[in-house]
């Protein structure tokens, strides 16, 4: 398959066939990750800059591991170690990086649209590892892959996304991708953590978790950031957890065999009960494993795109 996209900025760029191809490729790379020697020479000679202007453990390490297992050279740059702290503009920083001729830049940034901004100015592939509240396409893809692994596909399934929807790039990307792949999506959050125009997203919305969880096949918990409480969006964490913490008794109201996901990092007892996080219904660590599979697939697709065309 000739890969048609230069950059991965948002799942809204992808057709259903594109998304299915990524998941298929991820499955093929999964096998490599179970070998005793987890390295193949597919991307030998390619270089990938991991430019993370925001803290990250999972995503950054996952891309790093994925790149190295494909024999790409990966280089890390954090905002704190970059000239952004000296007042350099984002444009000048990324043009400087491009001058070093990387094949791809994987970027996380705290501003929505930052990935699109740099992609329009760079010749190399840009993979969005999360931009502000806007999009986190690789997280959505790995979530879909995790659920596909469990169910064989997401078509016809119902997924509840729970928590801070308003400020979540994970939610925005998952709502779109899961629906693209044939799943139904519901949202549950206090009104203060929902976008004002959430009705335009065309999915059911509730502030009653006990009601929202009924009959769903999966609950995708989101991380609660303490600054939401400081910004006056929540009374306190205790009250949030009373209303919106996912627990085993609440999950019992879901469909038989329902699972929980969480993009991490998790706050045990706030968004998800500790026993549920460790239970067999929890796919949290499966998501981390899937992350490497999916990112290997993405690096392969985006870094060998030109060779495929030729």
């Amino acid at each position: 398959m000739t890969w048609p996209h230069k950059d991965l900025l948002d799942v809204t760029q992808l057709s259903r066939a594109d998304a299915t191809e990524i998941l298929r490729a991820a499955k093929s790379f999964q096998e490599i990750n179970s070998r005793p020697v987890k390295k193949v020479p597919i991307l030998k000679g390619k270089s990938v800059i991991l430019f993370f202007a925001e803290p990250s453990t999972r995503t950054k390490t996952s891309f790093d591991v994925a790149g190295k297992r494909l024999s790409a050279d990966t280089f890390s740059l954090a905002k704190s170690g970059s000239s952004l702290t000296k007042g350099e503009s984002l444009k000048d920083t990324v043009l400087t990086l491009q001058a070093m001729k990387p094949d791809a830049i994987v970027m996380r940034h705290n501003m929505s649209g930052a990935a699109k901004f740099i992609a329009e100015r760079l010749e190399c592939a840009v993979i969005n590892a999360g931009d502000g509240w806007h999009a986190h396409p690789t997280q959505a893809l790995l979530d879909a892959f995790t659920l596909t692994e469990r169910w064989g596909g997401v078509e016809g399934k119902t997924v509840l996304i729970l928590g801070d929807i308003a400020h979540s790039r994970v939610a925005r990307s998952n709502v779109h991708l899961l629906r693209l792949l044939g799943a139904s999506v519901r949202l549950c959050a206090p009104k203060t953590l929902l976008p004002h125009a959430v009705s335009s997203w065309g999915v059911p919305v509730s502030s009653d978790l006990d009601e929202a969880v009924r009959g769903v096949d999966a609950v995708m918990c989101l991380r609660l950031q303490l600054e939401r409480q400081q910004a006056g969006l929540l009374p306190d964490v205790r009250e949030y957890s009373r209303r919106f913490c996912m627990t085993l008794p609440r999950l019992a109201k879901a469909a038989k065999g329902a699972v929980v996901l969480h993009p991490g990092p998790i706050n045990r007892g706030w968004e998800i009960a500790s026993d549920l996080a460790d239970a067999s219904e929890s796919l949290i660590l499966d998501q981390v494993a899937s992350g490497v599979d999916v990112r290997m697939a993405l690096l392969h697709l985006y870094l060998t795109r030109k060779e495929r065309k030729e």
């Binding site: 501003m111 929505s112 649209g113 806007h134 004002h196």
Partner: protein, 428 residues
């Protein structure tokens, strides 16, 4: 009245385009406006043939940012006034958020001096003084001193006064001096300079939006204070239907409020921010089609009195950033008349309302020179070619600010001449 030294022949009036007229001017003042060919041209008078052109009174822009002193890389008084003349403006009021802030006479005097030196033929500059020292919203600016230096109004535009008690006292003090106050209506807690409307687009793009209520709450406060104190307040750049409803009700109850909106709110919606287009980032933000229709209706019925550009030039590199980082503002002086004329051509705005909003009402509210084409009026007029088509490009704009979402768009109608007191400000 002395014999005419300038005659504009065969121009059309916007309100009666079928009947050509001749305009007679002497020593910078109007002598007469008559049906074409009904009065002989005096010997020696300069004749300007204006067949096919629309004759309009000179436009007044009561809300521009000229950036000098302090941010001359964005705009200078010289470049800003050149852009104003090209847009058909003969009177320009410039806001106080310069660096240093225009909160003392020496800043006002410097602005006026620069204008006189760079544009001796006009357009005329009328600085707006700061309402509070440093625009900090803490202490009243020395308003009498600013008035004496030449300020025509006071405003904290850009940094609205959240403290209602201080704002009340500022209104009372300014009214003592007979100078109007212009308020930028924005609850700083509800709508912190987001640059995008809170709605469908902001929800999709993951941007914090500014709700219309953040503007309307301050509009309501101002209307209540204006009525209570019996003092005028001019409400800047009204952007939404909620504000219009409140202003209409306040006027009906006798509050001496007046209001303006800007052309970009009439022709663009929040969708212009799609793709994180920083050229469309403006404060207050672009709203919805419903808001647009309410603003047009309000211009037509006089609820909104004035059109003003809120010309806010920025350097290209300042807008070439992710959306959140970009400064708010659209460069608007040179496109304003073309885009509002297009509304007239499409039947969405009457020519009468256009003239009222660009010419008559701003002059009345702020005491600016005004041409009603009556004998003795200042000969401030423009000749507008309604058939001209031009494309907005960086090269086509005299302003240093090329930051407009209209770049690349073809517009209809262009100013061919802008006369200030009988002299064409478009000629060097």
């Amino acid at each position: 009245m002395s014999q005419a030294d300038l005659v504009v022949r065969s121009a059309a009036l916007a309100t009666d385009p079928q009947t050509p007229v001749d305009l007679f001017v002497a020593k910078g003042r109007v002598v007469a406006l008559v049906a074409s060919g009904t009065r002989p041209v005096p010997e020696g008078a300069k004749v300007v043939e204006a067949s096919g052109l629309i004759l309009l009174p000179g436009l007044s822009d009561v809300h521009v940012h000229l950036r000098e002193p302090g941010q001359e890389w964005k705009e200078t008084i010289a470049t800003g006034l050149s852009a104003a003349a090209k847009g058909g403006f003969v009177n320009v009021m410039c806001m106080a958020n310069t660096d240093p802030v225009n909160d003392q006479a020496c800043v006002t005097e410097t602005m006026l001096d620069k204008a006189a030196k760079s544009h001796p033929k006009g357009p005329r500059l009328f600085p707006v003084g700061a309402l509070t020292v440093g625009l900090d919203g803490k202490a009243l600016a020395p308003m009498e001193e600013l008035k004496a230096a030449g300020c025509k109004a006071f405003s904290n535009d850009g940094r609205p006064v959240a403290d209602s008690e201080l704002f009340r006292r500022a209104l009372e003090y300014a009214s003592d001096l007979g100078i109007p106050v212009i308020d930028h209506c924005e609850d700083p807690y509800l709508a912190p300079h987001a640059g995008v409307n809170e709605g469908v687009v902001s929800a999709r793009l993951g941007l914090r939006g500014a709700p219309t209520a953040g503007e309307a709450i301050q509009v309501a406060r101002d209307c209540l204070l204006s009525k209570y104190l019996g003092v005028p307040i001019h409400l800047a750049h009204v952007s939404c239907a909620q504000s219009v409803d409140i202003i209409r009700a306040a006027k009906a109850q006798g509050a001496p409020v007046t209001a303006e909106t800007a052309p970009h709110y009439l022709i663009l919606t929040e969708e212009a921010c799609e793709g994180y287009d920083t050229a469309a980032k403006v404060n207050p933000p672009l709203r919805t089609r419903t808001d647009q229709q309410a603003l047009l209706a309000a211009l037509e019925d006089g609820t909104i009195d004035v059109l003003a550009t809120d010309h806010a030039p920025h350097a290209a590199h300042e807008k070439e950033t992710p959306f959140d980082e970009a400064p708010n503002g659209i460069s608007g002086l040179e496109t304003a008349l073309s885009v509002t004329w297009e509304l007239v051509a499409r039947g969405e705005l009457s020519a009468k309302s256009l003239i009222s909003a660009w010419c008559t009402r701003p002059a009345e509210i702020f005491g600016l020179p005004q041409n009603r084409f009556q004998e003795g009026d200042p000969a401030d007029f423009i000749l507008f070619d309604p058939a001209a088509r031009w494309t907005v490009t960086p090269q086509s704009l005299l302003s240093k600010g090329k930051n407009t979402p209209l770049l690349g768009r073809e517009l209809t109608g262009q100013v061919r001449a802008a006369y200030v007191a009988g002299k064409n400000a478009l000629q060097a």
